[in-house]
């Protein structure tokens, strides 16, 4: 508890615009201390702390006790400030090359942001509030849905990504204030932006994997507002990275890039507001409290509004427009940015529309279904993938037309493969799937061809990370186009000994047995499929008296078999959902490739000699997510909420 007082004294940090580095480290140390205190209290089952009493239980395994720290609002906000402080201190530590005024502005901005967060933490969501004198005997337990490995890693990664963009944000503010918005600035922003973006990519992919793995029904993307909240900054961040390439290589798009820095971080905060204030009808509304929402909204307005004011005031220092031809990488990156921002706009509209409608109609409720997102967002992403294929072909400034025209041949071949392969494997095709297959195949072709060509000339780390990032994205798109339309699902009623068939595979319910975990009772169904067993469980978490479904997954390189148990019937039979999901692992594998490429790019930029007309880590990663959403479609209908 002593740490609280220390934080309070610490909030004067933004006022001291000099020697803030030391303070940033101190802030990190203090927050780490506070975090460690909370962790220790969790491990010792100190139920006199309200937050622990509500979110832990003595029977909870130790690793979930740790992850329970960020299992609900207060603790996750402590983690949030800790991550923010870690980024600040990283900037202070690595910021030797910053000019003193830039450095001060950056650290000052970050300190100011975190000061708001800390104030909010103290006033509206203090995780250390005590329950004295009526200390409960045992805690209420962590929400069972969060008791999963993925949920240990997913929120921290997401926070690292979200808050990492605060560095780009602060650098943009500093550059606007010092009027030094140039290619040096872009070089400064780039590694931070890539790191944050890679973390966010991992965070989103983990979230999707968690949903698939833990919710028990095989859904992995729902176009839920909470998912959109993490996805929108990702889209803006992707656009930002690509526009930074133009700033660095061609000294253009400065204001656009700076604006994207501001927008990306504002969207991160907007995401936090949407998630935490409970304004939305959504699957995940774990923490909802209107007063908190108002405070978060105030922070959001301050950050977004304040930064835009700075931007507007400084907008006059325009550089002359950049000259380039139509067939140039600049055009491609411009299109990339336009498409990403349009896609962002459509997601934003779909997410906010119910809120606006409710406000305007005086309480009318409606929801925007996944079909909206699939119909609007996916075509945009398809176009984006199409342009992506040209990325390794087009050069800066101008490109010989013959090079671009030559790219038609691989497109035709990819399209042929895109029609033939699904016809051979599945026996039927859809337009959307063929479009996605063909375009992604085209991307793979042009990038691999580029790599092969480069082996003879120069291969730079920049070009490798770009190609790897784009290839990862293409892999994810291929997986999405498969796992979406080519999934099979069926719901049946099965007693022990019964069999059911799905897509030519025979599932037999071999046995149903009772079992027990540290804090739950379970009924386990053993299903035999092609000689191997898949075990699905229905669990009753005793401390909260909550039932969860643990899907049984038969993992495979090319397809997952997914069995979920519904409810038991009076005659002893069970409702069972059988699913087959082709290539689904590759969605997350693709995302991981993209993220690794991003991290690699972040750490290698400074050391490479510049190769202005060529190469470069320009058009990097559109990354996966694009179409991931594609397929939230069919399944999950009756599933989890």
């Amino acid at each position: 508890m002593a740490a609280l007082g220390l934080w309070g004294g610490h909030r004067s940090q933004p006022a001291l615009l000099h020697a803030v580095s030391g303070l940033a480290q101190l802030q990190l140390a203090l927050l780490l201390g506070a975090f460690a205190l909370l962790a220790a209290a969790f491990l010792q089952d100190d139920f006199s702390v309200l937050y622990i009493a509500e979110n832990s239980n003595s029977s909870l395994p130790w690793y979930y006790k740790i992850s329970a720290i960020w299992g609900a609002h207060e603790g996750s906000f402590l983690l949030w400030t800790l991550v923010m402080s870690a980024w600040t201190s990283a900037v202070a530590w690595a910021g030797g090359r910053l000019a003193s005024d830039t450095g001060n502005y950056v650290l000052g901005t970050m300190g100011l942001i975190n000061a708001h967060f800390l104030l909010y933490l103290l006033l509206a969501s203090n995780p250390f509030l005590r329950l004295v004198p009526n200390v409960p005997v045992d805690g209420a337990d962590l929400n069972p849905v969060l008791q999963d490995f993925g949920q240990i890693v997913h929120p921290p990664m997401l926070y690292v990504g979200w808050l990492g963009f605060s560095v780009a944000f602060s650098l943009a503010v500093a550059a606007l204030l010092t009027r030094r918005l140039d290619d040096d600035w872009a070089n400064l922003v780039r590694p931070w932006c890539y790191l944050a973006w890679a973390s966010l990519t991992v965070g989103i992919a983990l979230g999707s994997w968690c949903a698939y793995h833990e919710l028990g029904w095989g859904g992995w993307w729902f176009w839920d507002p909470v998912e959109n909240a993490s996805f929108m900054p990702w889209l803006a961040g992707t656009a930002l990275m690509h526009s930074l390439a133009v700033v660095r290589k061609r000294n253009g798009f400065h204001h656009w890039a700076a604006l994207l820095c501001l927008v990306t971080f504002s969207l991160c905060l907007a995401g936090a507001f949407l998630v935490r204030s409970g304004v939305l009808t959504c699957v995940h509304a774990i923490a909802s409290d209107p007063t908190r929402g108002v405070m978060l909204l105030a922070i959001l307005c301050l950050v977004a509004g304040g930064s835009q004011v700075i931007n507007a005031v400084r907008y006059r220092d325009m550089k002359p427009p950049l000259g380039f031809e139509l067939l140039a990488r600049e055009t491609l990156l411009l299109i990339n940015n336009l498409l990403l921002m349009t896609a962002l706009g459509t997601v934003f509209v779909g997410t906010m529309f119910p809120l606006v409608y409710e406000a305007l109609s005086g309480g009318g409720r409606l929801s925007v279904g996944p079909p909206y997102f699939n119909r609007v967002f996916l075509p945009i992403m398809c176009v984006l993938v199409g342009f992506l294929a040209l990325a390794p072909i087009l050069r800066w400034r101008s490109t010989p037309a013959s090079l671009a025209v030559a790219a038609w041949k691989p497109l035709v071949m990819a399209a042929a493969a895109g029609v033939a392969i699904p016809l051979l494997v599945a026996g039927w095709i859809t337009f959307a799937a063929v479009a996605a297959y063909s375009l992604a195949g085209w991307v793979i072709w042009t990038h691999v061809a580029d790599l092969a060509r480069r082996r003879r000339s120069a291969v730079t780390i920049g070009s490798i990370t770009m190609i790897a990032g784009h290839l990862g994205f293409a892999v994810a798109v291929l997986a999405l186009a498969s796992a979406g339309p080519y999934s099979h699902v069926s719901q049946v009623r099965m007693a022990v000994g019964d069999s059911a068939e799905l897509n030519g595979r025979r599932y037999t319910l071999a046995a149903v047995e009772d079992t027990q975990g540290p804090n739950y009772l379970a009924t386990r169904g053993r299903f035999e499929v092609e000689g191997r067993f898949i075990e699905a469980e229905k669990r009753l978490y005793t401390p909260r008296d909550v039932v969860t479904t643990e899907g049984g997954i038969g993992h495979g390189l090319f397809r997952d078999l997914y069995v979920s148990m519904g409810e038991p019937f009076d005659d002893g039979s069970w409702g069972v959902q059988l699913q087959e999901k082709p290539l689904i692992r590759w969605i997350w594998a693709g995302a991981m490739i993209v993220a690794i490429a991003g991290i690699l790019a972040a750490f290698t930029s400074g050391r490479l000699p510049r190769a202005p007309s060529f190469a470069g880590e320009s058009g990097r990663q559109q990354s996966k997510s694009g179409g991931r959403a594609a397929t939230a479609r069919g399944h999950a209908t009756s599933g989890p909420v």
Binding site: N143, P144, V145, G216, G278, L280, T281, V283, H284, A285, I286, S288, P321, G323, L326, L334, L338, T342, G345, T346, V349, G350, F353, P354, Y357, G363, G364, R365, L366, S367, V368, G369, P371, Y372, R375, V376, P379, I380, Q491, V492, R493, K538, R544, D545, V546, V547, T548, T549, S564, G566, E567, D570, G575, V576, Q577, T637, S638, G639, P640, V641
Partner: protein, 141 residues
């Protein structure tokens, strides 16, 4: 007009056209894919449109869950606990947290005879969470 300006203008026109087209498509898609929510009393009173995809919700009336002897078919009543209730028919697995007396949201179509044919049944995420639509049930007269 100098060539750079001209190019710029072309780009802007092109981008604007794209944005307008996207906005148009979005609006159409939005119009087709929004599901309005109706509480039980508005279903009973006949306010809710028939054979249109809507969301409805209420609390599961205790003792009202009837299962078919074969298959997964199930029927139950959703009530606002203030006298209005309607019957839901659903053919599929119910979510884990679907229970008597608990809030539930159904998505589907209302038939002429007042039976709600659901193709999705959603229940609460955890015991502290009530879907916002159901919170209103306690305040709507």
């Amino acid at each position: 007009m100098n060539p750079i300006r001209k190019r710029r203008l072309q780009l802007i026109v092109f981008a604007l056209a794209g944005v307008v087209a996207t906005a148009a498509v979005s609006l159409v898609a939005l119009r087709q894919n929004i599901d309005h929510f109706y509480p039980p009393h508005r279903i009973v009173s006949g306010d809710a449109p028939v054979e249109v995809r809507i969301r409805a919700g209420g609390y599961v009336e205790p003792g009202s869950i009837e299962r078919e002897a074969e298959g997964l078919g199930v029927r139950f009543l959703l009530t606002d606990r203030a006298g209005a209730s309607f019957q839901v028919a659903y053919d599929g697995l119910l979510p884990s947290l679907f229970k008597e007396d608990q809030g539930s949201i159904v998505v589907g179509r209302l038939a002429e005879d007042g039976l709600f044919k659901a193709d999705q049944v959603l229940a609460r995420h955890d015991e502290n969470y009530t879907p916002p639509e159901l919170k209103d049930l306690d305040t709507i007269p």
